[in-house]
Structure formats: structure tokens, C-alpha cells
């Protein structure tokens, strides 16, 4: 594939052909028209580069690949307007930019600069993978994976035998679901004997979400194989397989079909997961948890029990995390359930109701399949090791997982279905647990969830209620977040934390916890011996200048200080705040809310500062001029940081 960008006439021709293909039904419309208000907001955010709003809209479930009435897709808008981060985020979330398609080429054609163009090229579909591909690849790899042994049924046809997994068969093939439900203890199954081994293999690969290749031999052999596939797909009740094989199309069609197939397969797995794994979880008193005996031959083919202990009530009260938490124990002994946060629609009730009894020290056991747990490197090592967990016993092993049941459920859901929709409330726990279990992708999702919560200058709440009093601080404890980011080594979250604090520095600067945090950051740096500066403070300084910069840039410092002009300027600024499009403020995504936040937040500080006598000129007159106020505030905050550092005896 050439890396050159196509010319305009080529694009037009591509559009024509694509339209024809779509209208004739050969091709699915990848960029459907969306004129809803939400989508318009989304597009607007992409134009402005407002990462936060984009994230908000995406989490509302908007189709990221839709187009507006001018045929623009969000990705095109973002790359046209030169918002690298937004484009990257969109691509990460599945926005398409495929060579040889009209929209893809158009996107490349319109990219503002080479940096963005290269980004787009690097996400070309042929290189990027489908979001569900990791799940599919894992399930397919089970067919060839030897260690640890996870297969529990041997399926024969003729001379061919494959060691398979009952839960996969049961989830994917109605035929097997039916048969295995009747006799769950079966360990071997004989299918029709006179089927070409290739057909058998193809069907099984299909069940295991593998890519069913078009290479089925040639001539007579192909006929035989096809006949076999046809026969088996009827027997296993998976007619789509045969249809798919009969209709190979071009690359794009094949890809679309593959995507559909994967989605379907995922949904099947998810359904099966809901109806079996989650439905069969056991709640017991903690001291009895290890006495639960599950036979190897159970109706849902589980081969391991994961145990999660419920949280203490005290922990729940610790939400603000202002104080250091109680010493963690090796095995946590907590009383009672937490005021849980909904996990999933169907399991919600089941999860909640027993805990309502307030029976102290409960544990939840989830019957699981090692085959799926292998997606976590820790589990993979565990089950392959010669330790107790790696051996087969009469009853299923109970493996404790050091997290709350609802968190474990999130993890299991992710491992089985690649779904990672969980509430912000769980995010830190999930982050931590995913880090412990080496589930990198889930970690990233959790980090993404937290970091898009607020874009620094505005919060979810504020964006809806510009002058509202609701504060984000109640929603997250930024200290926890930053510490978690250090512990789990998620850089994106570190940055987020620094930005978050920078935009509310006046709130935090005098808190003792902040001091502790700075100290911790400093000690981290010592251990690494990379640089002499305190990373956190550096980051905060950077974002602080970011926060105040736009005001200085627009007016210039002299003008700002010239108070005779301020009336007109401030009026403009006031207007600009609401429209967000005037007075040159719109090149950045911060639609003007910070002044309020700053103003509000600074009010107590100013008094405080005055009493300290630091800024003698600060009086009511100044409050009327926001630019001067900003400038002075900036200086005040920087000075405070300086003093803090001095107090701590740190450089930088």
C-alpha cells in the first residue's frame, strides 16, 4: 500500500464507487448520517479539540464513525483542525481511517500536518486490530495451547480428534449447548464420522472465533471440504459459517463480516457468561469460604473457583481518603458489604440482595474457566506452575483474588467478553487489581475513565452547570489517584493528576496531604535518580502556566496591567465566557470556565493571603479586573509552591 496521499480526483472516484456499493447493499454503510444534537456537540468538540466533551459523548454511546450533514466524521474534523490528542483518542476508541476507502483517504488528505497524517497512517486498519481481536485471538489460541491443560472434552470425527473446551462449545453452538446441558460430565464426543478433517477443523476454528480462511484446498478436495462444512454447520447449528465461506468478498467486506462475527461471538460469550458464571456465584460467610466443594463435573464446566472477599464498612467511610487508611492486613478482614455501586444490569440484584443482610465477613465465589483466566499473565503462570493451583484435585481449587467482589466481576467480565464498562467509583480498584493481575488493557481503560473525568479546566459537573457549586473534589480524591498512578505506573494518570491539581491549586496548596504528596514524589525521584527536580511540581507548574497563559497571550502583560482599559476588555471576556467562540478564546478547548473556578476558589485564599501580607495591593478594586487578578494569582500560586518547596527542603 502506497504511503502517498491520493489526489482529489481519485477520492471522488472512490466515493462514487463506494456509494454504488453501499446502495446496492454489497457494503455496509460505515459512516451513517447522524444529525442528533449529541452528535453535533461531539463534532463541535472535535473541531475545538475538547478532549473531555469528546470522551463524554463517546461514553454516551455515540457512533464514533458517523458523519454529520456535511459528510464530516469526527476523525476528519479532529485531524483537519489539527487536534492530535483528540484524533489519537478517537482512533484508540475505534474510529476508522482505512486506506482505499473514501472517508479514510479524505481524512488523510485533510490532515492538518504530517504528525497527524502519520498518526492516521499508523492506525490503518491493516495494522491496527479490531477491538475484539485480542479476545478472539485468545480463544483461538486455546486450540493450540498445551500448557496449562484447559481442555475438558475430546471431540472426534473420523480419525481426527481435537481437545476442546465445553464452555466454548456450549456458548457458541446451540447444538453443543443442548447436548452438554443434558450431560455435562461428558469428556468425549463423536461427531459425524465421514467428514473431511479440514471441514471439522474449519468448523471448530469458527467456533473458537478464529479467522476462517478461504484456503480450502482446490478442486475436488475443496468440494469435499465444503460439503463437510455444510454438513457440520447444520449439525452444530451454526449456519452462518457456511454462508460466510460461500461468499468471500473483497478485503473490506470480509473485514466487516469478520467484525460482525466477532461481535456476535462476543455477545454469545457475554450471554453465556451472564447466565452461567455470574448466575452461579456463591456467597458464603468468609470463614466457610474455603470449605466450599465444587465437583470437577459441574453443569457450567468451571474448573476453578475465584474468591473475592467483601469490603469492610469502615473502608467505605474512608471515601475522602484524607487520612491514611488503616493498616492493610495480609488477609483483609472487613465487616459487611459496601454500599455497592451497580455493576451490571442483571447481576445487580443478585449481588446486592444477600449483602443487604449485613451478615459480616462474606465472601463471593465465582466458578470460572481457567482457559479464560489465562488472559491474565498471573493466572497463566499460576495454572502452569507446579504449585497447588497447578495441580488437579478432586474438587475445584479456590483461588482468592485480593479485591472486592464487584471488582472481580468487572475483571471477569473483561476477561470473558472484552467489555470494560464499569463505574467511575470502581475505577481505582479496577486499576489496582488489573495491575496486580497484569491485565494491561483493563488498566488502560480504568485510567482512561479517570483521566477523562475532568479535563483540568472543567469538570463533568461544571460543564453542565457552569456556575454551580458542585465540586469535583467530592467525586474523586486526587491524592488517591496520583498515588495509584505511581503504583500502577500509568503515566497518563500522573499527568492528569498534575493538571487537575494545577487547575485547582489554590484549593490544595495549603493542605497537609498535598505536602505529603510532594514529598512522596520527591522521594520517588530520588529512588530513580533520573533527575533532580520533583516531577509532580514540575508538572503542576507546567499546567499552571497553561491555565493562565491564554489570558496573557491575548492581551499582553502591559495592557493587562493598564487598568484604564480594563472595562472594555473585561466586558468582552465576560461575553466570551458564555459563547466560547469570541475574543479569540476558542483555539483552546477551555471555554472560559476557569476564571470562575479560580475566582471562586481563590476567594478564601485571597483573604488568607492578605492577612499574611504577601500581596499588599490586592483589594476590591482588583477583583473587578480578571486579567490583573489572574496575573497576580499566578504569581501568588507560584510563590506558594516556592515556599512549600523551601519548607520541604527540596530543589527545583
Amino acid at each position: 500500500m502506497a504511503d502517498t496521499v491520493l489526489g482529489k480526483h481519485q477520492l471522488e472516484r472512490a466515493l462514487y464507487e463506494e456509494k454504488k456499493a453501499v446502495s446496492s447493499g454489497r457494503l455496509k454503510e460505515e459512516n451513517p448520517l447522524d444529525t442528533s444534537a449529541d452528535f453535533r456537540r461531539f463534532c463541535e468538540a472535535c473541531r475545538r479539540g475538547d478532549l473531555r466533551v469528546c470522551q463524554e459523548q463517546i461514553s454516551k454511546g455515540i457512533n464514533i464513525n458517523s458523519r454529520d450533514e456535511f459528510d464530516y466524521t469526527p476523525l476528519i474534523l479532529a485531524s483537519l483542525c489539527g487536534h492530535y490528542e483528540v484524533a489519537q483518542m478517537l482512533l484508540e476508541q475505534g474510529a476508522l481511517c482505512e486506506r482505499d476507502t473514501f472517508q479514510g483517504e479524505r481524512c488523510l488528505y485533510n490532515a492538518l500536518n504530517d504528525r497527524i497524517r502519520n498518526l492516521l497512517l499508523s492506525y490503518d486498519y491493516s495494522k491496527a486490530t479490531d477491538a475484539l481481536q485480542p479476545l478472539a485471538a485468545h480463544i483461538t489460541s486455546l486450540l493450540t495451547r498445551d500448557s496449562p491443560k484447559t481442555a475438558d472434552i475430546a471431540v472426534h470425527t473420523g480419525e481426527a480428534t481435537l481437545d476442546l473446551h465445553k464452555f466454548v462449545l456450549s456458548a457458541r453452538s446451540p447444538f453443543f449447548a443442548h447436548k452438554l446441558a443434558a450431560a455435562p460430565e461428558t469428556t468425549s464426543w463423536r461427531l459425524a464420522s465421514n467428514v473431511h478433517p479440514r471441514s471439522f477443523e474449519t468448523c471448530i476454528r469458527y467456533l473458537y472465533l478464529g479467522d476462517v480462511g478461504a484456503d480450502l484446498g482446490d478442486g475436488e478436495e475443496e468440494q469435499g471440504v465444503l460439503k463437510g462444512i455444510e454438513k457440520m454447520s447444520r449439525q452444530l447449528e451454526i449456519p452462518e459459517l457456511f454462508e460466510n465461506i460461500l461468499h468471500p468478498g473483497d478485503r473490506r467486506q470480509a473485514r466487516q463480516r469478520r467484525t460482525e462475527e466477532l461481535e456476535k461471538g462476543r455477545d454469545q460469550m457475554a450471554r453465556w457468561f451472564q447466565r452461567n458464571v455470574l448466575k452461579h456465584k456463591v456467597e458464603v460467610a468468609r470463614e466457610k469460604a474455603n470449605d466450599v466443594k465444587w465437583d470437577r463435573d459441574n453443569s457450567i464446566f468451571a474448573d476453578v473457583l475465584l474468591r473475592a472477599d467483601e469490603e469492610d464498612d469502615e473502608a467505605e467511610e474512608d471515601v475522602s481518603a484524607v487520612q491514611p487508611l488503616e493498616p492493610a492486613e495480609r488477609v483483609r478482614r472487613t465487616d459487611g458489604p459496601l454500599n455497592g455501586i451497580p455493576i451490571g444490569p442483571s447481576s445487580q440484584q443478585a449481588a446486592r440482595s444477600p449483602s443487604r443482610r449485613r451478615n459480616p465477613k462474606r465472601s463471593v465465589l465465582y466458578p470460572c474457566h481457567r482457559a479464560m483466566l489465562l488472559r491474565s499473565e498471573v493466572f497463566a503462570t499460576m495454572f502452569a506452575s507446579p504449585f497447588r493451583e497447578g495441580q488437579e484435585g478432586k474438587h475445584l481449587h479456590i483461588v482468592p483474588v485480593d479485591c472486592a467482589p464487584d471488582v472481580l466481576e468487572v475483571i471477569l467480565t473483561f476477561l470473558y467478553t472484552e467489555k470494560a464498562d464499569f463505574s467511575l467509583g470502581l475505577a481505582l480498584d479496577v486499576l489496582q487489581a488489573a495491575d496486580m493481575l497484569f491485565i494491561e488493557k483493563l488498566k488502560q481503560r480504568a485510567a482512561l475513565l479517570i483521566s477523562t473525568l475532568g479535563n483540568g479546566s472543567a469538570s463533568v459537573v461544571e460543564s453542565e452547570n457552569p456556575r454551580g457549586e458542585t465540586d469535583l473534589e467530592d467525586l474523586i480524591n486526587i491524592y488517591d489517584v496520583i498515588r495509584a498512578s505511581w503504583d500502577t505506573r500509568v503515566h497518563r494518570l500522573e499527568e492528569f493528576g498534575a493538571r487537575y491539581i494545577a487547575y485547582r491549586l489554590e484549593r490544595y496548596i495549603d493542605e497537609p496531604q498535598f505536602k505529603e504528596l510532594v514529598q512522596e514524589s520527591a522521594s520517588r525521584i530520588k529512588a530513580r535518580q533520573e533527575t533532580d527536580t520533583v516531577e509532580l511540581i514540575d508538572d503542576i507548574r507546567y499546567y499552571l502556566s497553561d491555565r493562565f497563559r491564554l489570558r496573557f497571550e491575548d492581551t499582553g502583560l502591559d495592557e493587562m496591567m493598564d487598568e484604564s482599559n480594563d472595562g472594555a476588555v473585561s466586558a468582552t471576556t465576560e461575553n466570551g465566557k458564555d459563547s466560547g467562540a469570541k475574543a479569540g478564546h476558542d483555539d483552546e478547548g477551555y471555554s472560559g470556565s476557569p476564571p470562575e473556578a479560580v475566582g471562586d476558589g481563590l476567594a478564601p485564599d485571597l483573604e488568607h493571603l492578605e492577612t499574611q501580607g504577601v500581596v499588599r495591593t490586592l483589594d476590591g478594586e482588583i477583583a473587578g479586573d480578571e486579567f490583573a487578578q489572574d496575573a497576580i494569582n499566578y504569581q501568588i500560586l507560584l510563590g506558594k509552591i516556592e515556599r512549600l518547596m523551601e519548607n520541604l527542603g527540596l530543589d527545583g
Binding site: A328, F387, P400, D487
Partner: protein
Amino acid sequence: MMATMSRRGGAKIRPPRRGLQGADVDFDTTWPILEGAFKEIHTKNASALSFEELYRNAYKIVLKKKGEELYNKVARFEEQWLGSTVRTEIVRTLTPPLTLTDGAGRTLATSSERRTAGEKFLKSLKHAWEDYQVCMGMLTDVLMYMDRVYCTDHRQPSIFAKSMGLFRDQILRTPVQPASTTLLDVLTRIVLDQIQMDRDGEAIDQFLIKSNVYMLEGLYESDLEVEDEKLYLRFEKVFLDQSANFYRDEGERMLKESDAGSYCRHAKKRIDEENDRCRSTLSESTSAKIQAVVEGELIRHKMKGLIEMENSGVAFMVDNDKFHELSLVFDLEARVDPRKSELTRAMQRLVTEMGTDINNAALTTSEATPQREAAGDDEDGKPAEEGAKQKLPAKPLSQQTVAALKWVEEILRLKDRFDKICTTSFSSDQTVSSAINRSMADVVNTFSRGSEYISLFIDDNMKRGIRDKTEAEIDSTLEKAIMVLRYLSDKDLFETYYKKHLCKRLLLKKSVSIDVEKQMISRMKIELGNSFTLKLEAMFKDMTLSEELSNGFRAHIAGVMDGAHNNSKPVDLSIRVLTSMTWPLEAFRGASGEDRDENSLGGRDITLYPPEIERLKSGFERFYAQKYSGRKLTWYNNMGDADLRARFPRSTRIHDVNCSTYAMLILLLFNDLPAGESLSLEEIEARTNIPRGDLARNLQSLAVAPKTRFLVKEPMSRDINSGDRFKFNDDFKPSFIKIKVGVVSAGNKVENDRERKETEKKNNDSRGFVIEAAVVRIMKQRKQLPHAQLLTETITQLSHQFKPDVNMIKKRIEGLIEREYLERMEDAPVPSYKYLA
């Protein structure tokens, strides 16, 4: 979903479950659990342990920033474990047979004692290593989080690498006793000892050594684990040194004690053995290196001596057709030298030696010839010679021809022989066979009569050799000739000879089969190119044209006869019109060369003919002039022959006499002479104008040879001298109806020295023209060219014809400059020429 919740305002981000501030550390309670578990692991009691529990504990420690502490504790634990438990276990196996050494460091125990003890040691080391690997694998699994987080962040080697380093330090590098050798040295010594036993033919436990080698391959000199700092390399070096010594000694001993053949066999065996050893006992990576050592010691340094070994070296092998051994030599040589220079040189030397023998033999034969001929001539030359020429179709060949035939055969046999060696023993190796071919070519080319002899060989075959042969045999004969021809570099000289010989064959109708002649030409065409055979083909063309001419003339005469008076005797004329440039006519004059003078050169058509012949001659000239205007015919009477019908007084019948044209002219003189009268030599000469040499030869045939003594000479002697008188022999009584008068004219004989010089001179002259032509061709194309380049280009252009002499080229260039074809370029940085057109 998030936004929804946010709006509700109820959802807060839940603080993480554990306090992460690191204020509390239960390291002191957690570590004992881990330590206990590690002990269990090392004592193979892990099955009851819970991975999850251990992992969780390690995870928490790391999470609480105690990673470093944990790391160091684990390292210390391992160090202790290795240092105390494992090492003692191994040191215990160091039994006296291994430790008892004399002053020189050699052990005093017998080899079987050493072997048993060594194996015991190796076994215990192997077990220690393998166990340790398994245990550390498990430990690493449990400490996964530490590896990923602590080690990565702090740039520490992974705990596995660290512990392998500990194994190296604690087990291998620690002295067995204070101030004594380390276990690594002991291990090296034992392994080498065992390998030596293996070389000496004792069975050893290869697998055991292999396991220990695996260990060395898994360990590095430092904790950085640099790929080319494996411990094994240290062992390998010692091993290679020791092997080099061993094989150097062995090679010298063998060279003294055994013959080349068995040496080769042994060397081959050793190489294979070492190869196998690397696979089965040591590491594959050593294979190439030890190979190089053995090759170096057993072959490279010994090859020359081996090849030149008296009574068993390569010469001996070739002499005795030891193909297998030759192939061994070849194999060995090929290992150390892709160009096989030693063997090649030896083979070339052999070829040259044998070829020179053949050349010398041929020279001796040909030099012996004139003496014996002279001797024959002195005693009873006449009968022998004439009998030879007249009676026997397969006349005995002249010694020169015999020499030529023998030479060609010998050369071919030599070639066959070496070809066979090449294919059977040297697997048709390109380098060697081309070197041999080069030597063959040298042999052929150093022989000064090569070109002539080859041509003679063909000539002889054309005249007699192929008479009773099948097509296939003829084919192979021709092929042989071509094969030798291929070696020849002076192709132009050969062409000269071949033309001469062919000319005689054609004109004297000596050739057995014109078809075969043509075949030969076409083969040469394939081999030497179109231009080479151009003239030869033209000769054939002339032959056919002449045939047509003669027929045409005959028809013409018949027409004239019919119309005109019919009283003259019909004289039949058969004519060969030869294009002067294509035919080497001087060859014929050369045959009568000794008394050739201006007379015979300038007076070709001054021969006086009797009227009827004269009429015929001028008739043909007119006829020819009609057909081809502007061409000049020159008559070569000395090459013609004539059929006469004669009556002899003592015979009643009419005899057919076949004689040369000159003989006819002489006989016709006596036709008109009254009986009893005689003519003197001078008279005959005056009346016929036949050159003296030809005249004398013809008179000799007519008056001396007994079978055709039509004339009587006065005085009776063998030689013809001036003043001799001749008269018709009335007493001649022919015994056959057909009489052939032979002329003492040479067949295709080898030239004598003077002739050869002549030929060469002529050849050089013609080469001069060819060179000039080539130079002009090149310059015309390139316009200007440096001297050196012109020389090379000229040589390349001419290489398929002959190897030009550089001096000659220079001279020719001079000549061209004089004649202003070229000029020197004054301002060129290197001497260059410019083409003037």
C-alpha cells in the same frame, strides 16, 4: 453512564481498597512466610504451597515500596542456600582420583578410576544445576510482580538472572578449598579428560557432559548477561587449545608413521568424530570452531607434506589409480582451502610432467625418423619406397606421421585419465578441472609442432583411419581431434596446416569421404567460429564449381567437335579452378621446394605444350573468359595429371598410363622421336620448359623406377644429371594394363625445419595483418584509446584465433602510425592513440 452518574452526584470514586501510603509494612511478618516457602521449593516440597498466597505476599511487599528489601533478601537467601547446601553436596563428590595430581598437574589415577569419579562429579553438578533452574523458575513465577515493577524500575537484573549469577559465583567460582582451584576449573579439567578418553576410544557418558555444557551455556560472566560472555566460551577456549595441541601431535606422528592414504582416512574420521562430539557431547556452536582447529592442525599445515609424500602422495595415487584416496585428499583440501591450491598445484604439476614426457617422446620419434629413412634410402631405398607408393593402399606411414598420431593419442589418453580422476575423485570440481585443463593446454601449446600434428592426425584419419569405421567411431575420432584442438591457442597456425593438408587431400583425391570432411568442418565451425572455416568451405565450393566447369567445357567441346572437322583426337580435360587466396598453392611448390627458383615462380605458363594440348588449353581459356570475364587463369601444371593410352613394343595390348602432366609432356616428345634416338636432359628441358626440379623428378619416375621404366637413361644411375640422355625403352614389358606413374612427390609429411620456419614466418606475416585489422577496427570504433587498453582489447579480440605477441602488436601500431592510420596524442596523461579517418 459516567455522565449520568455524575449528574446524580451520588457516585464518588471509591478510594482504593488498601492503604497505599506505605506507612505500615508487615515485611517482617510476610518475609518469613516467603522464606519458608522458598525452602520448601528448594527441597521439592512445593506442591502444597499456594501460588496465589505467595504471589499476593510478594506483590504487597513490592507495592509498599519494599521491593528492594525483598530483592536483596531473596538474593541473600539464595546465596546462602547455594553456598551451604548445594556446594557441600558437590564438593563431596570430588574424590581422590580427581584431586590427586602429580607435580605437573596430571592425575595419577587410572583412566577408568578417573572416569567413574568424574562422572559422579558431573552428575551431581548436573543435578544441582537442573534442580536450581526449576526452583528458580518457580521462584520467579511467584516474584513476577517484583520482577516487573521493582527490577524494571530500578534497572536490576531479574531475580532469575541474579540467582543464576549467584550460582556461578557460589558454585563455580568459589575455590573448593581456600587457595585452590574453583569448581569451574575442575569441571573444565574433568570434561576435557573425558573427551580425551572419548578420543582414545573409551566410552563416556556424553549426555552427562552435554548437560553440564548446557549449564555453562546458560551462565554468563557478569550479571549483565551479555550474549558473547557466556561461561561456555571460557571452557570452549580451553577445549580448543587442548584439541589443537592434541591434533598437532597426532598429525605429526601420523605423518611419520603412515602413508598418505591412511592419513587422509584418519583425518576424515577425526573431523567427523569432532563433529559428532559437538552434537552429542558439547555445543553445536563449537562445531565450526573445532572443525577449524582440526582442519588447521591435521590438514592445512600438513597438506603440502601429504600431497608430496613419497610413494604414497598424490603422484602415487594418480599413478596407481587410487581414486578413493584421491577423493579423500580432495575432501580434506576442500575443507581448508576453497581454491584447493595445493591439490591443484600438484595435479597441474603431474599433468605438466606427463605431458612433457609425451611431447619429448614425440620429438624423439620424429627425430629418429629421418635417420632411419636415410638409412633405408642408403641401403635399398628404391624398391622400398616405390613399392610403398605404388602397391599398397595402406602404405606404411612415415615416422613423422606415426609420431603425430601417437602424440595426439597420448594427449587424449592423458586427458581422459585426468578427466576420470576429476569426475570420480574430485566430484567434478570446477577449480581443479579447469586448472587441469589449463595445464593440458599448456602442454599442448608448449609443443611446437602441436598445430601441425593435430592437422596431421586429422589428415591421416581422413585418408585412411576412417575407412572401415562405423559412424559412431568416426564421430568419436572427430570429437577427439576437436578436443585437442580446443587446447590449442595458435589456431591460425593450425588453420594454415589444415588448409594445406586439406588442399592436398582434395586435389589428389585422397580423402575417403567428403561427407566426413564436411562434418569435420562443421564441427570446427561450432568450436572455432564461422570465420575460421570460411576459407575451408570456400575450398569445397571451388571443388564443386570446378566439377561443373569441367562438365560445361566438355559439353562445349562436344558441340564444337560435332560442328567442326573431326580429325583431331579427342582430348578430355578435367579442370580445377582454384581461387588463389583460399588455396595454399605454395604447398605444392613447397613439396619441390629445394630447387625452386625464379624460373618456376615467374614462368608458370612458359611451359611448352604440344599443339593439341595447347589448343585445348587455349580453348578452355576462351571458354572460361566467356563465362567469367576479367579473371585470369594461372596454370599449375605440376599439379595436374594425365591419362594416356600407350602401346609398347613388348606388349600387344593398349595400356592405360596415368602420369603427371609433366610426365605426359615428356612422353609425348618421344612419341614423335624416331626409334633409337635419344634426347638429352637439356634438350627435353628446352622443348618443354619444365622446371628443372620437376623435370628431374618426372624423369626419375620414367627412367629409374622399374615398374614404369618407359625410358632408358644413359648412363644408368639413380640420379638425374645434366648431360644424361634418354631414349625410349623398347624392352619395357608392362605387367598390368593400367600403369600408374608415380611421381616422387611428397604426401602430407611433417615439414622439415626449414619448412616450418617458412610456415611460421608466413603465419607471422598473416598475423600481422590480422592484428592491424583488429587495431584499426577497435580504433575506428573508439576514436581514441590509451595504449594499455588498446593492447588488452586487441588481445581479447584475437584470443580465439591466436595469442598475439605484445611486441608484434606494438610494431604493428608503429606501422599504422607511420601510415597515418593513428597518431599519438600529445596531451594525454597516459600514452594514448587517436584514430585518423
